[in-house]
Symmetry: D2
Subunit: 418 residues, 4 copies
């Protein structure tokens, strides 16, 4: 899973407050669930909600409290094993595909664990900490933001496996369908331009966004809006899923193997899709979501276009404000009518394999395992989704998934050579 790691801290004054706020949101998310919901692992990519709640807590215990808080004792030595995700250098860990076998600690016990760690963290923060430790705490909060998103996409998958089709929440906001304008493309002139984030930046970023570096772009045009369900429906109706010439070879194999014939969660018979608010009619004007890179790539080829490179995306996106349909909109589903927006709704597949920027240096120590070791076989996505926290997004942000991933909110925007 795309765990990531940052380098910079937030404004010093607000750290305690921000800690409280970020941590509270995780508990709030769990409050919409039953204890039973928090146990299930519906596929290896998915982690139980309970596990997310404990793992993000372990992060603070492992990387902040144990090394830096005087006299701090691990809440439970076995939790260091159970809730380590993939930090080989931090010790042995429980096997990922077996997270769903653990009924204990119970949700209540995990919440107690959280309270214990929170109390110790607040004591530490109130006592004042070094700049370097502040960076790690900030990173831990951004880490928790990521897991809040994962917890939502994971529980969506869990609930979708249940023939009862339970909604996570019945009170989510639904926006009325809005007729979308025809997609328009904006042209950009090529040349050498700088992208990425500076290692000396004041604002937070992950190490994989650094360093800033020049790239050489050619002239290109990029769409002002995301591909919609209506457009994707045309692709389906035009035999998109059965026309091999539209597909990458590995994508075609995936289509055959999994029997894909529509985005994940779509039911073509009923024209509905499963959402965090239960089964709903597909809104044709909303951005298409829950498609793999292969489907995004095939759609773009069918449309006579291509996916943007991540540099093209970043150059275009940084001219726009970081606004959009995010977690705070209380929709938790892509929303129609988002013309001219570059953030929220769905993560956008780019044409780029996830690789280190020139001059990239991972963080020191265990935290260096966060981003660098995943730089192979995955594709970069940009822009954030309807369940990403707004304060977690920025134009330089790179997330990444395997090209067959579909359980995240994943869609696309078209680009073209000009």
């Amino acid at each position: 899973m795309a765990a990531v790691i940052g380098a910079k801290s937030t404004a010093p004054a607000s750290l305690s407050e921000r800690f409280r706020e970020v941590r509270a949101r995780s508990v709030q998310i769990a409050s919409w669930l039953q204890p039973e919901d928090c146990v299930v692992q519906s596929m290896p990519d998915v982690s139980p909600t309970k596990w997310h709640l404990a793992h993000v807590t372990w992060f603070f215990e492992q990387f902040v409290l144990l090394p830096s808080a005087a006299n701090y004792q691990a809440y439970d030595e076995q939790f260091l094993y159970l809730f380590n995700s993939y930090y080989q250098s931090a010790g042995a860990m429980h096997a990922r595909p077996e997270r769903g076998l653990l009924s204990r600690p119970t949700l209540a016990e995990v919440l107690s664990y959280r309270e214990h760690v929170d109390a110790a963290m607040h004591r530490l923060l109130e006592g004042g900490i070094t700049e370097s430790l502040r960076s790690v705490v900030t990173l831990g909060l951004e880490h928790e933001r990521q897991h809040q998103e994962l917890a939502l996409t994971d529980i969506k998958h869990v609930l979708s496996c249940n023939p009862l089709g339970p909604a996570m929440r019945d009170d989510l906001v639904i926006h009325k369908a809005i007729a979308m304008p025809r997609p328009s493309f904006t042209s950009h002139t090529g040349g050498i331009t700088e992208i990425g984030a500076s290692v000396d930046s004041e604002a937070f970023c992950y190490d994989n966004e650094t360093p800033t570096h020049d790239v050489l772009l050619r002239d290109f045009a990029i769409a002002d809006s995301l591909v919609t369900n209506r457009e994707f429906r045309h692709f389906i109706d035009d035999s998109g899923y059965t026309t091999s010439s539209l597909w990458l070879s590995d994508g075609w194999t995936a289509v055959q193997t999994h029997g894909w014939c529509a985005p994940l969660y779509w039911n073509l018979d009923t024209e509905t899709e499963f959402t965090l608010g239960g089964e709903r009619d597909i809104d044709l004007d909303a951005p298409v979501s829950h498609i793999s890179f292969y489907e995004a790539d095939a759609f773009a080829r069918w449309a006579g276009a291509r996916l943007p490179s991540e540099a093209e995306w970043e150059v275009a996106a940084r001219q726009h404000s970081v606004d959009g349909n995010t977690f705070e909109s209380d929709c938790w589903h892509p929303m129609p009518g988002a013309h001219g927006q570059w953030f929220g709704d769905v993560w956008e597949w780019t044409a780029c394999s996830y690789a280190p920027y020139p001059g990239f240096r991972p963080l020191e120590g265990s935290l260096g395992e966060y981003n660098g070791k995943f730089m192979c076989n995955q594709m970069v996505v940009r822009g954030g989704s309807c369940v990403t926290a707004a304060d977690h997004l920025r134009p330089t942000y790179r997330s990444f998934f395997y090209p067959d991933a579909r359980w995240q909110f994943l869609g696309l925007r078209l680009a073209r050579d000009i």
Copy 2:
């Protein structure tokens, strides 16, 4: 799993009372667990506790209330699908290996379902029912007895997968080790003898125990006690698990494939085993348990003996009272010193493949799917275990498992030609 089905009813007077008592025990078993425990399916053979609680309830709804209770409406139509186990003739069913994906209905919702069905059942029973329906209700209760045992062996497996090693109950009875006498063998003279249960018997039995029929036995001797952990430990120490000549070919393959080197739940390093009361020292005088048919067969060959046939076992066992360490002993673990007992502690592997008795007729209708269709590839076990209800046992009772099954309380008793 080896669900089975009966033919005869218990005494008319007590049916309501017995219904109340059997149903209450299921709820009591769940009361020792957290809601999170009741969700997990740790392997395909295991079902979540929640599922057991609902499935045995579905049995009454499907086979008693829907066909026979005036105006009864299904509590939830979808439950008919979710909680059908394997009755093809009763309609489609949820895939067995996916029972652990279902967080809903929650434990509380399943308990409500139980209450609803119980109320309807009591109304029905109070109104008086036919003899034939009475048979089905009795069968449903024996069915629930079986699932109570399965729920315990299943949750044992679930908890054993957790590195925290949680005990289901801390208050289980532990018996002090008692030095066991050397096993002695009792001789039996061969000849024609009748075994099995009559289709006209007043007492309850499953259809697979019928009809009574003659068998031809040769002279044989059979041990008065079960093989103990001490004896099995000698087998291990004598390279039992690495001596191919002791094993059936399929057994040897299983040993290599799974890396078996001791009974399931044993930890040879610490000389402990996982129990429903948590991790405990292995009591060398207690009967060995959690071994496959292959291990029982290899042990018998190593000991210069053999497994008894099911007819031999029945002929010997029916001379003894149905006493032993059962669910009601509150041990939930095999107990040392059970010399001369034929029931409880562990199910005993026999040498016999599970097959129909001559003249066997399955029950009519869906209930005919209970026993007959499993009569291939499985081995007969006899005698019941430390988590079987005492009132569920009798000398003619045949249960059955695949030869590689280990998660039940499964052990052996030796026999010999004479």
Copy 3:
């Protein structure tokens, strides 16, 4: 694989001659094939022809020449490893599923190996050998007879996987369709009767046929002829493959998993089946073949009958001469019109799990691994097939296969309680 092992020798005078004759047939079988045909392993159950030719040779080298021929050196030490099938006590062996990876030794090299061993065997036999060694040589010849049958059924499977559908031989005998009489049943009175072979018999038998022992039979009737393709076609047309109530649970799972809808090698579209003579029209009057135990059992249930027990079969069969359509008929396919015959055409599934007879003792040493260790999970078949050598058959002969096996010539005969 159903390798088997004998206990008794053939008549002393003819051993050299019989050795020459049996060995020659193996080479003759290979002569109908191209070197390329002899390499392929189309599934784990199948062995390449080359491997069969070498393995039966290894048998004589391992169990006769190396222990008993003065100064005999292994032809190639590595062949002892490559061509050991499953004799754990004879040393390590090459993994069975990887037999198809071996292009060397080539067919020509294997034939040289055979000549080398044959020469040494003839020297040994001419010098005179002990009675005990004579038994082993006889066993080796019966063993080679079995592998001749396996080589034919294996190559049939190999060729069937080739879209070109090559025939092994174009000159096989084809018998014209003969209208079959309605199947008639012969009644047998029950009681105690002796079956099996004596350990002291002059005639050859395998150890698993011994000892003779009493069985208790009930009155029964058994069909005088095999179930035909026409009858099986009625089963198919009557939704046999889609009616779950006809099937054992494991059989139903096999049907779903493999998508079975007809016997192996049948093409329902063209009404043809693949044979060793290539693709041919299905002869409706010929015995059905290439069905699993599950299909035989389901057919019998559909027909209102059952499979015979192996004792019933033996009691009925021993009243008939050992005649029928065997290897020597040069048909290599079941033939229509075999009324009243009990041998040849197809092996007949019985209702019995393969288990030791009471008092069974395996042979001493490595040869004891032949039969005994397979006595679990398999079903007994009786009677031999159209590719079995006639001199290899007798009423007491027990062969055995897993219940899902279909690549042998496997069919059935019905029985009934009376």
Copy 4:
């Protein structure tokens, strides 16, 4: 598999002659093998030699003769199905993992097929063909060159699976070990530079090498020689395979899953490696080979360096002549002492995921399936190997493999930022 496809033809005058020469080499390669060798498929990536011989022939039949030769009839309609590799637009095809199931057509029959097609091709070429058809013929010859290399690496894998360890040839040239100079690095100044091949070039190239385009490079240094077995042995001795921090996450998983502890074909116990000339001592001064991208990447990290990008490699390599240890050297194994050479010995892993060059356009029609559809999940390799034809190499050539591939001659050269 990395099939590729070109756009340009060789010099008009020599086409017939070149056709004869390229086609003859394929037959010569087969002449060193037994018919049995030509059947085996030792893993899904491997194709049988027979298949390679037929597939490259099919290419001419499918893309040249059938569309362009008057009155040409397919040699065998079924061959169009059997020997299509992955051209979805050319019709259905036989499943790749089942190529090893086909004993027919035999090697001799495939050679007859080749003669038939060769004769028709010569008639066509002698009659004169269009420039466009000439391009396709040239492409077919380059295609056959690629399959000659694959046939050799595939048969190496096949023979290596045989415990007998057969050599393909006993007469291969072995070069004496030469002490290697310390690797030196050459510095290159960054800036904008053009790479790739022009779509209008006279010389042959594949479509994936086009179009020429500017790239922006930073200053870098690149090694003058390949990493040797001695250097790789230091990596192993320094716990390279057990130090997780050196590995990409997917690489670490591969190491654990496959138990990698040395390059493929190495035997650490005997300090030998399997070669096309049989088992040989590892020459520590020769370039390391048969390592995956993951191992190359981990080695580079351990060495404090990195893999070059493909643009860096091309810029450096084009300053050197296309010389080296190739097929024609008759070594068929990496050779020591190749200082300052950029071609032959082993394909060199680059840091780049295989992706389209800006402005890339695949060929029209079925031939467009050759390269473009594989542009995902694979890594670019450069430079050719000891079994690549010398006339098949050039600085712009891009080949590509999945990062876990090891059965090709695959090694690395280090690079560094400066």
